[in-house]
Symmetry: C2
Subunit: 368 residues, 2 copies
């Protein structure tokens, strides 16, 4: 079920690329941005050359521009992205989801440290539209990623500040592009199991990993319906000590359940593994699974198909979101919307007649 | 995954309520409509009074108007619907899905005959956007519903002729309204497991029933991902003779799998039953389950909540679909779309820059 427009007021927040907010009324809650306003902007070419030579400081500044709502920043950011685009696409993109408490941070620390020690360059991003930096978003608590934060070949960036899912997703996808241009060959995108954020992350990664805990038999009670069917892999975390036996039971439950699911479009069979992020067991196996997947979908050509589908998806999704913003932010629609909804709910007019009434008003106001 | 705009060209077909096709270029593939053009239209009041007194012939003619793309027909249809709306809402709406071969038609015949014999008035509709009457849609083959077709208290109507899902869904939802105004207290909406049609049907019924067959352990291979999580009930059909033992195994597999799913918003626990439509066993039990559900969600007030959510959903969904039609049918967008998509796929511009380029063109052409 995708009742994406049950709360059209959320659409207000996303202005897409054509942001029109001035400095005075732009809500600055981004500490990176705050710091940045003291620094002069680099030229587009300086950003690009810095990124291409793998300068993490320049990369970070460019990401801050992406996150900024100032038109001047956005203009530069878009030109930087465009120049970096030919260098993008050459990383493995791993989406990671799981309920709070599943141990995502310690898992990312463990898998991430394994990868950077093996010589990979790792960017860790997040999509969390509900986050506010001041309240501590996911990835905000770097104490659980102490080693990785300090590692030379790792770039960790929390979710862009609170905003609509569309806005946050756009910024994250653009950040992936810059990271790839900067030579990062591995990108993690973490998300919490809230709203539509998993769908967004699923639509920007190659492999979608669900982190689970062994529990009471109600293993999936905490997460949203449909997530299990999105997963390319499931890993049962904290499979150690007294938890090991329960984890084995959970593993076999998940395997049986997955057996009942229809085959994925990729023809890949979702695997269920166990690991312990604290004891560092099963971590290598998770990465081996990801590599097996990349190899498998490389051979059957699903990898490129999915990447292309995702690029198209985001183009059409952005168009749709902006069409809706234009509609729902229209003063005449704002005035009429609640009244029309009430008429529909009280059976005075049908849903379709209500929609038509609004559409007529909107298109007339646009002097078609 | 909802890549609803991967095929924006499909949007062409749906013009919503403001159909502008003249008689000459309207593709008439609806046999009901063909028959109708020979008859004069009734007045709005005559349609309404005919429907309200339960005249199935008048009901059928009014449904034909709903299905017609002629502006004159649509104008009358909308006024009839509006007048009937205060009388709607008082039926139990049951969605029925399952792969071809699961025995949907014989199941509907068996359950339907049980219900009309018990004194209920039953309307059987279908949503099948791919159907063309000439090719025989679902419900088209009435030989499998011989008794029900002849029953006095049953109204069977195949899917509206081929068209976009949005158009077909709208017509079906409007038909439900007229049937309810005509005193039908039970409405079945059948669908095949294709594309987004289950989501559409799920969004217009109270109870969503998945018909399954006992198989080889790959029970769900034939149906789309996510369907099982939409189901309020699963019934394993053809549970008879040599199939009975296999059906019991399938029943317990499904029960175990469902146990792993997160709780539904309704707090209802999906039940798994067995039946034989040919031997007429287990049929009463299916209806008892539906009644248990209606009672359960009546008490916890989910029933009304869901109905209201659905009404809002269709209003917003119609708005979105028409906004997209206006965009994708715009001549300038049609001209630019393929080129922009190619630029995105060849990494010349980002998905977001591509979207922005199209949006700028569209909104400029509308002289905002």
């Amino acid at each position: 079920m995708h009742y994406q427009h049950e709360h059209p007021e959320n659409a207000d927040e996303y202005k897409g690329l054509s942001v029109s907010k001035g400095i005075s009324n732009a809500p600055i809650i981004n500490p990176y941005l705050k710091k940045m306003r003291k620094k002069p902007l680099l030229s587009v070419n300086d950003y690009v050359s810095g990124i291409v030579r793998g300068d993490i400081s320049v990369l970070g500044q460019a990401v801050t521009l992406i996150e900024s709502s100032l038109p001047a920043h956005q203009a530069v950011a878009q030109r930087v992205i465009e120049k970096c685009l030919p260098l993008t696409g050459r990383s493995v993109r791993l989406g990671i989801t799981g309920v709070p408490g599943a141990g995502k941070s310690t898992f990312i620390e463990a898998l991430g440290m394994y990868l950077v020690r093996a010589g990979r360059k790792l960017a860790v991003l997040a999509v969390d539209p509900s986050s506010e930096r001041t309240k501590g978003s996911i990835l905000g608590d770097k104490t659980r990623m102490e080693e990785l934060s300090a590692a030379a070949n790792a770039f960790i960036r929390p979710s862009p500040a609170a905003g609509s899912l569309g806005g946050v997703a756009r910024k994250t996808r653009e950040t992936i592009a810059l990271c790839e241009a900067a030579g990062f060959d591995t990108v993690f995108v973490e998300t919490v199991g809230v709203g539509q954020s998993e769908t967004a992350v699923h639509s920007m990664v190659d492999f979608f990993l669900l982190i689970q805990l062994a529990g009471t038999g109600d293993e999936l009670q905490g997460i949203k319906r449909g997530i299990m069917e999105m997963a390319d892999g499931i890993v049962i975390n904290k499979a150690d000590g007294a938890n090991l036996q329960k984890s084995k039971v959970a593993q076999s439950l998940f395997k049986n359940a997955l057996h009942l699911f229809p085959e994925a479009e990729s023809h890949w069979t979702t695997e269920v593994l166990m690991c312990s992020s604290t004891e560092k067991t099963g971590i290598v196996e998770v990465w081996n699974m990801v590599e097996r997947y990349v190899d498998f979908v490389g051979k059957n050509r699903y990898f490129d198909y999915k990447r292309n589908t995702q690029s198209k998806y985001w183009m059409y999704e952005t168009v749709n979101e902006q069409l809706q913003n234009s509609f729902y932010n229209n003063p005449k629609i704002k005035e009429l919307l609640n009244k029309t909804e009430s008429e529909v709910l009280s059976h005075k007019i049908s849903s379709f007649a209500g929609a038509q009434k609004l559409l007529d008003k909107y298109f007339r106001s646009k002097t078609l």
